[in-house]
């Protein structure tokens, strides 16, 4: 396994917002992640790319506590630095989870709640924000993604692109230190992809720190500060998008990029 040192020296000595080292995870016999290292600095956007089954989504899910890793250390922003090779307390796990919020491939909006209720659920129920404040924040976020007039509708009344924008706003409303995107446009009709990518790009420009699992290479090249290519549960190659996507060093990366650029 040859690991490229993640992000070494690109922004000087600034401390990382996300540090992952030696992350590993197996489902039964099936080893999904083998000692993954990642580092993301504040305001930086990292794109995780790779063939399906390469483990990139699992990395994301481990960061958000949706999967419990078998080993490795994860630390995000002000949260605890958790070593998963030992027992991890539920309290620490939820403290880690509070540092990030996930945008799902299939949006996973709450169907029994209106758009506004979806967005304020976390701030009001979990963060104990005053409802009036949460509503005001939610309305301004919804306006920013062009959905101000949809706030009283139910998710089923919205298009996929609109639902995903609500999904993004729901994550933003928690003011997480780190935003996680799990193939945010893979479930969308092609003509709706643009509106969602546009929102994500704005967030990237707005200095949000993000990890994005994506198959949209052009998008990754445009917004990412670093691209990490994974295959078979390991990081094969990582670095500046221009390097990894245009002139990859590793043969596996070359093949993957070629395949996506020339599917036929």
């Amino acid at each position: 396994m040859s690991h490229t040192e993640p992000t070494a020296g690109r922004s000087g000595q600034q401390s990382n917002l996300l540090t992952v080292s030696g992350l590993s995870k197996a489902f039964g016999e099936n080893v999904v992640l083998e000692s993954i290292d990642l580092a993301v600095q504040p305001g930086q956007v990292t794109a995780l790319i790779g063939p399906s089954g390469s483990g990139k989504t699992t990395v994301l899910r481990c960061l958000n506590g949706l999967e419990t890793p078998d080993g490795g250390v994860v630390s995000i922003a002000d949260g605890p630095s958790l070593d998963f090779s030992g027992q991890v307390k539920a309290k620490d796990l939820s403290a880690l989870r509070d540092q990030s919020a996930m945008v799902f491939q299939h949006y996973n909006l709450f169907p029994h709640m209106t758009v506004l209720e979806n967005v304020i659920e976390g701030p009001v129920q979990v963060k104990k924000q005053r409802k009036a404040d949460a509503v005001r924040d939610a309305e301004s976020l919804l306006a920013r993604v062009g959905l101000a007039d949809k706030k009283d509708q139910y998710p089923f009344e919205l298009s996929g692109g609109q639902q995903q924008r609500v999904g993004i706003v729901r994550a933003l409303a928690l003011k997480p230190a780190l935003l996680l995107f799990d193939e945010p446009t893979s479930a969308l009709d092609p003509e709706l992809v643009g509106e969602v990518l546009g929102v994500i790009k704005e967030l990237a420009d707005g200095q949000w720190t993000m990890v994005i699992v994506t198959h949209e290479l052009a998008f990754a090249r445009e917004v990412a500060d670093e691209v990490v290519f994974m295959d078979g549960g390991v990081v094969v190659e990582s670095g500046h998008p221009d390097t990894v996507l245009r002139a990859p060093k590793e043969e596996r990366t070359q093949r993957f990029v070629q395949r996506l650029l020339n599917p036929f």
């Binding site: 799902f104 139910y154 009344e157």
Partner: protein, 178 residues
């Protein structure tokens, strides 16, 4: 309880549901009213009936609610967790409201059955409606009249329950595409 992560709780629930669903309600009634006195527990007819029906409906309802909870997609749990909710809070705020919608029709079926099965209580000497009908019929010899009348009363009860069911379904359906 069957969904509990606690193995013991889950096993107890499984056995309970299995016994309740695997034995006739009439037998359950008889065990409680005629059976228990032989081990020294004597329960009068009315409480016996109430206990037996409650235990019985609980078994069926538990299974319905379990299935309804399982029918909510896993992504809903994950979405709850990602906005910082604990398991309990996700269950209460996110999962149960969605499970409620799914469970209304089968739960209504169970309650409608309960109304009709209450006639079985006559067999443990509870003077419920059907038993009274029997007694009056025996006295007046108007069998057809009285049994049809009893049937009508059961039907009206069930109609009320059914309309309650449609009201609930409509209310809970407001967030679903038609």
């Amino acid at each position: 309880m069957r969904l509990s992560r606690n193995r013991l709780a889950s096993a107890v629930a499984r056995v309970y549901v299995s016994i309740i669903r695997g034995t006739p309600l009439l037998v359950q009634l008889f065990v409680i009213f005629y059976g228990l006195p032989s081990i020294g527990v004597v329960i009068p007819p009315w409480p016996s009936a109430i206990i037996a029906f409650s235990l019985n409906v609980a078994g069926y309802a538990a299974e319905i609610i379990r299935a309804a909870i399982l029918s909510v997609p896993k992504g809903q749990w994950e979405a709850g967790h990602t906005i910082g909710m604990s398991r309990t809070r996700t269950l209460r705020r996110i999962i149960l409201p969605q499970a409620a919608r799914v469970s209304v029709p089968p739960l209504s079926n169970t309650f409608i059955s309960l109304v009709k099965d209450s006639s079985l209580a006559s067999l443990i000497l509870v003077s419920e409606m059907f038993r009274q009908a029997q007694e009056i019929a025996a006295f007046s010899q108007q069998f057809m009249m009285l049994y049809l009348e009893a049937a009508l009363v059961y039907w009206v009860f069930c109609l009320v329950l059914s309309s309650g069911q449609s009201y609930l379904e409509k209310r809970l359906d407001r967030y679903v595409a038609h």
